[in-house]
């Protein structure tokens, strides 16, 4: 039924969608959009011509393929709202919101940057039954809401590990990499933490949580690591065999990849000693205009975050365990501690150390 509605809605609203796309492109030029699409409203607004079509402008770090079903679900419930979806890197998204670029919703995997936006007053409060239902650790001050818990994992190319024990801890990973440099030179990949907000978040949290992190960096640095901006490219390269190991990729993306690619070329390892769990968060920026629609989307995401079963959704729900910092396995804590590593001085110091470890000549 909705498919029929979608088809007719598409033809009817095509000219409008085009102009939206065009204005979107103008914005894209300034913003370095990685991807962008407008999902036209499935049905014309009911309030007469004056109201026009309501467009929910979403800035996100989540890939379009991953998030498209969510938009479809949203439009099934709210067919009168068009969605303008822009994919940006987490640091660009952060900068855009700070610079006051008008978005109705900002969704990011970089918790620290999202938290700083909320702390510094770039988010507006929103409260509803759905957000109240979220556990305490999944929201902060009614400004920022988490709707997924996504662990960082290690992706490996199965062939590269033939005849080797699969490492279960960082110690074992360090040992494997150190003992078999011939297999891993130039075949180790991880985030370029200078560019990737999520990579920086994972790196700084590991710095805080495990001393094995720097030794691992040293070992990786000696192997001539490949540096990436994004999980998906790392996963692809692992699957294709261009990389033997990708350290700290998003578990959810890797799982999605495995669902598509059953060849067994790639495997996912979860480190048993410590594992970062990232919360994908959403804020309603102060520049938002479609606040009601943004709230509806937040409600939908919060409801999905609280679902019991995984279902067909690409992104995992909130874990039911909550943060367990003592065990080191819980989600990264949504709090002012996140701001420590965002401080320019700290960042400079951290990046210097990281570069020293990673770029050994």
């Amino acid at each position: 039924m909705y498919h029929l509605g979608f088809a007719s809605g598409l033809t009817l609203t095509l000219p409008l969608a085009l102009t939206l796309a065009l204005t979107g492109m103008a914005q894209a030029a300034e913003l370095e959009l990685e991807d962008h699409r407008v999902f036209p409203a499935l049905q014309a607004a009911t309030g007469g011509m004056d109201t026009g079509t309501r467009v929910l402008r979403v800035a996100s770090t989540t890939d379009l393929d991953v998030f498209e079903p969510y938009i479809a679900a949203f439009q099934a419930a709210r067919p009168e709202i068009a969605v303008d979806y822009s994919v940006l890197s987490s640091s660009n998204l952060h900068r855009a919101i700070r610079d006051g670029v008008a978005f109705d919703l900002a969704m990011s995997s970089a918790m620290d940057l999202q938290f700083q936006l909320a702390n510094d007053g770039f988010a507006q409060p929103f409260s509803s039954a759905a957000t109240e239902a979220l556990p305490d650790w999944a929201r902060w001050r009614d400004l920022i809401f988490a709707f997924t818990t996504e662990p960082a994992v290690v992706a490996i190319h199965s062939a590269s590990f033939e005849g080797l024990d699969l490492p279960a801890t960082r110690q074992e990973l360090i040992a494997v990499l150190r003992d078999h440099p011939e297999r891993f030179v130039g075949a180790v990949g991880t985030y370029d933490v200078r560019e990737s907000g999520l990579g920086y978040l994972f790196a700084t949290q590991e710095d805080r949580s495990t001393d094995a992190y720097w030794r691992l960096n040293e070992v990786m640095g000696r192997l001539g690591p490949q540096l990436y901006c994004c999980s998906l490219q790392m996963i692809e390269d692992v699957a294709e065999g261009r990389l033997a190991v990708a350290y700290n990729v998003l578990g959810s993306y890797a799982e999605d990849w495995l669902d598509e690619d059953q060849s067994g070329r790639m495997q996912i390892l979860t480190m048993q000693d410590f594992s970062n769990v990232m919360l994908r968060t959403v804020i309603i920026p102060t520049t938002a205009r479609q606040i009601e629609a943004a709230g509806a989307m937040v409600d939908m995401l919060a409801d999905l975050g609280m679902r019991e079963l995984q279902g067909d959704w690409a992104l995992p729900a909130l874990s039911h365990s909550g943060p367990r910092e003592d065990a080191g396995f819980g989600p990264i804590r949504l709090g002012p501690g996140l701001m420590a590593y965002l401080d320019p001085l700290n960042r400079r110091t951290f990046l210097t150390e990281w570069e020293n470890a990673m770029e050994q000549r």
């Binding site: 007053g121 902060w140 001050r141 709090g335 501690g337 420590a340 401080d343 001085l345």
Partner: protein, 456 residues
Amino acid sequence: MIQSRSIGKRLTLLLAAVAALLSVLSWAMVTALAREASQRTQDNVLAASATTIAETLRSEQGEVRLELPYAAFAMLGAISEDRVFYRVTAGGVTLTGYDELTPPTPGSAGQVVFETSVFRGAAIRMASLGRAVLAGDEPVLVTVTVAQTRDGVSAVADDLSSLAAMLSVAFFLLAAALSALVAYTSLKPLNEIASAVSRRGPSDLRPVVRPAPTELAPLLLALNRLMDRLRQSIRRSEDFIAEAAHRIRTPLATVRAQTEIALRMAQTDTEREHLRQIIRAVDESSRSAGQLLDHATVAYRIEDLARDTLDLATLAARTVAALEPTASMRDIRLLLKADTAWIAGDAVLLENALRNILDNAIKYSPEDTSVTLQITCDATTARLSVTDQGPGLGLAPFEPLTQRFQRGENTADIVGSGLGLTIAAEVLQAHGGRLELSNAQLKGGGACITLVLPLA
């Protein structure tokens, strides 16, 4: 009586007002303390955070270096979900943090200074710490300022404040209830005395003898003195009346005797009629004087009532015997049906009462009828009823008939003072009994007067 506001109510209201005042005061105090306590908690964490950051300050190659420890920020998130701002300056130049954050005037080195301010439209609390760091040759004053919004503090203080408000209201309600109880208890002796006095019979003027609180002793004393004076005054007037009645009776007897002589010697009917009227008037006066004397006797004896054990039947028989002559003059039979009934009382008074009632019965009975006296007993009381075959008590209420000088509606042509039933009623009341008036239910029945007395 002019009734001013009740002492109990006034006392309760005053105590409740005091309780209300105390409740409000304690609420205000708890609120202020809660605010202060939560503020101090925040101050302590802010100070710890600033100190943690300041401890990382060092000098490297002539430059001030520092790092912002994760813990310094994480601890701020541990107490509340408040927004966090910070700034580190060296010699007035921002090293890192929020440029617009104006630190408070620094105190002496190493001392944490606190200030409440506004930053980006939100109320904040700042902790600032100065430390001298040697950069190159000269020491530079580095100021570390950590600030947090105050929502958490306010929320905690508000929570405690509303809790305190609820407790204060509960305290007030309890205190008000206790106030009412206290007022009631304090006024209990007063009420007891009042009810003891009001329970007394109308002619009971004995002094009130009962324990009284110090505050009430003067009142009781004054009351007793007043009653004493009243009793003496009543006694004097009763004495006077008795004396007067006695003095009138003797000459009246002389007047009657002389008038009867004159009647016998009278020549004309007119003269005889006049003389008869004189005799009638003299009889009435004499009778009234007798009853006034009776009444005075009764009043006098009641004050100091004898409590002898008596047989009501014997007493009734004696009275009947005394009145037999009067009755037989008008062919009236006095019938006594009685068994022994022991009561405690004053024989003279009870005889007097019964005589008055019998006298009435004889007086109002037509000739050649009978007056029936009957004694019945139940568990606690003896009832002596006197039933005549006269005209009865009429249809008007009987109650006024026992008041002084009140006479029935259908008695116009019969001599009477209106004191008989009054005397009887007073005697019975003094004995803890009562007089019951009714019209006899029997055919040809007249009045039925019943003397009710407690058994001994």
